[in-house]
């Protein structure tokens, strides 16, 4: 038994080393910009870069749009499946898992072929339309996490009774969805939302191939051309991811959504 505990300690310490050393290495590297002494110059340069501000703002906006569209798409669907069409549940679950099966690069390749400027639905023809296509691509990407989170939340409440109670009190469908169901699965939605944010904010493949000025392509550009700024950006990205996961823990009461995709 004692031997097992020593083994467990060794495994944990080795694991911690593997995970912590790159973070220390990155942080140390990001401080090296000024010759001979540590400084936060790299961060100052990054935060002062108008390109950083513009692309980060663009990706934040995309993430918010993704969350709104995703919630509007997933919550009524999951609710309706639970209430009226339980037979369709396996089909819907299978579809929501497909983005894990089909690599993002393949999905976006399909968009470029299907929605090119000479097609029936030329979504790559103008910048605004491509923005919308990128939002939809992110909704697709986030579908497994969002659906799973909302579905788990809906299972925990008594959807049928709540609906019937609201109906008896004379509520219409919009009222039921927005004033009864939505507040009850708020923590689940927030979990899905923060996870979506973490996935979307630094996404590279889709934004780059659809040619939109997002944070991911900006990171790539800096990574290819600068020395110290990429490390600073990596630390910033890590902090953003950490904040999202922390908020999930706060709102999701410690549930791990990604634990079961």
């Amino acid at each position: 038994m004692n031997q097992a505990r020593i083994g467990a300690w060794i495994a944990t310490i080795l694991g911690a080393l593997y995970f912590v050393v790159p973070l220390i290495g990155t942080f140390e590297f990001s401080l090296r910009m000024r010759r001979g002494e540590y400084s936060f110059d790299a961060y100052r340069v990054v935060f002062g870069d108008p390109q950083f501000q513009a692309t980060f703002a663009y990706s934040t906006l995309q993430a918010l749009a993704t969350i709104v569209v995703g919630v509007l798409l997933v919550v009524p669907t999951a609710y309706w499946i639970q209430l009226r069409l339980p037979k369709l549940r396996p089909v819907v679950e299978f579809i929501t898992l497909m983005p894990l099966v089909i690599p993002a690069i393949v999905i976006v390749f399909g968009y470029i072929r299907l929605y090119n400027s000479s097609s029936i639905l030329p979504m790559t023809a103008s910048a605004r339309a491509t923005d919308l296509l990128l939002t939809f691509s992110y909704v697709t990407l986030a579908l497994p996490y969002m659906y799973r989170a909302v579905d788990t939340g809906l299972r925990a409440i008594d959807v049928r009774t709540l609906t019937e109670a609201a109906e008896n009190l004379g509520a219409g469908w919009p009222t039921i969805l927005f004033k009864v169901i939505l507040p009850n699965v708020r923590s689940a939605i927030l979990s899905g939302a923060f996870l979506t944010f973490a996935v979307v904010i630094g996404e590279f493949t889709m934004a780059s191939l659809l040619n939109r000025p997002a944070f991911g392509p900006y990171l790539q550009n800096i990574g290819a051309n600068r020395a110290y700024e990429p490390s600073a950006l990596a630390i910033i990205a890590f902090v953003v991811t950490w904040a999202c996961m922390g908020l999930i823990n706060v709102f999701g009461r410690g549930k791990q959504i990604k634990a079961a995709p």
Binding site: M98, I105, R113, L209, G223
Partner: protein, 299 residues
């Protein structure tokens, strides 16, 4: 009381029910239209494109054209990196999860590890590549420290971050946490009674694992390994930032093809994508199947 409310308006309820039956489809139609437009049709369209020639006629030539040394080697390196990072990630992820769940370590380690795993499994893409360049690149912290204090030149040993091993080592940073996140609930599902029962029957620790625990866990372990495989196989950003185009893996080849038609054949690009769909499709299909098997034990 509740019964009364439900049964009293029965006649009206029936007509409502039947009319809602036909309307019920409307409720989920936005979802299906969305899935059709942005998930299913684009993928199907690519798969059809893989079987078409430039004029749109049916052909198998594109698939035959995949059989070139550079495309084959791209698939091969991708498969190697994905298999290596999936197997290693699954092994170390399992050991870490085991250590924290069953290893008798302090209580606070477990939530710490789980939270960190949630972060690290999402800390992929470009920032991850930057982190590893800053750590194990030619002027990275670990490389420099090893050279100056241990007199050990990592790059003399033939190690290169921009290589198969470098990529695998980097991928492990999100593979191990993903394994931990998925396998921990499975380890929790091992009931204390099973262990006690086997101990009472005189089983050794090894026998317990060999005949009880592992047979229950193995669908989860194998299934998660397949998920990790697909996860690595479809990854683009980390590899692209780490190696540029110096390491010829299939996602980077496909990326270059989409950007600039480097294969000089649109339909060959579709065939390349079809190959990826088939590979991740088979591994994920196996994952979903194994998962449904393993869930039987986790109730």
């Amino acid at each position: 009381m509740a019964q009364d409310i439900q049964t009293s308006p029965k006649p009206a309820g029936i007509s409502l029910e039947t009319s809602q039956k036909s309307w019920a489809w409307i409720g989920v139609s936005p979802f299906f239209i969305f899935a059709l437009l942005f998930l299913i049709l684009p993928t199907l369209d690519l798969m059809i494109g893989a079987f078409q020639d430039a004029q749109g006629g049916f052909t198998l030539q594109n698939l035959a054209n995949l059989n070139t040394p550079s495309i084959k080697s791209a698939y091969w390196i991708s498969l190697k990196v994905s298999v290596a990072s999936a197997l290693t990630g699954a092994l170390f992820g399992f050991l870490l999860a085991y250590a924290v769940v069953l290893g008798g370590l302090p209580q606070w380690l477990r939530p710490t590890l789980m939270t960190f795993s949630g972060v690290a499994s999402n800390f992929a893409g470009l920032p991850l590549a930057f982190a590893f360049i800053a750590t194990l690149g030619r002027v990275g912290l670990v490389t420099v420290l090893l050279r100056e204090f241990a007199g050990f030149d990592l790059y003399r040993t033939g190690f290169n971050l921009l290589s198969f091993w470098g990529l695998t080592l980097t991928y492990l940073y999100f593979q191990i946490p993903l394994m931990i996140l998925i396998i921990t609930p499975a380890l929790d599902g091992l009931k204390r009674e099973w262990r006690e029962a086997s101990e009472i029957l005189g089983a050794s620790r090894l026998q317990y694992w060999r005949h009880v625990a592992l047979p229950i866990l193995w669908p989860s372990i194998l299934g998660t390994t397949l998920l990790l495989f697909a996860n690595a196989f479809g990854a683009v950003a980390t590899a692209y930032a780490l190696t540029g185009s110096s390491l010829n893996i299939v996602t980077i080849l496909l990326y270059a093809q989409i950007r600039g038609d480097v294969l000089h054949d649109q339909n060959l690009g579709y065939a390349l994508a079809l190959g990826m769909i088939l590979i991740t499709g088979v591994s994920n299909g196996a994952y979903i199947w194994l998962r449904s098997r393993s869930e039987r034990w986790l109730r």
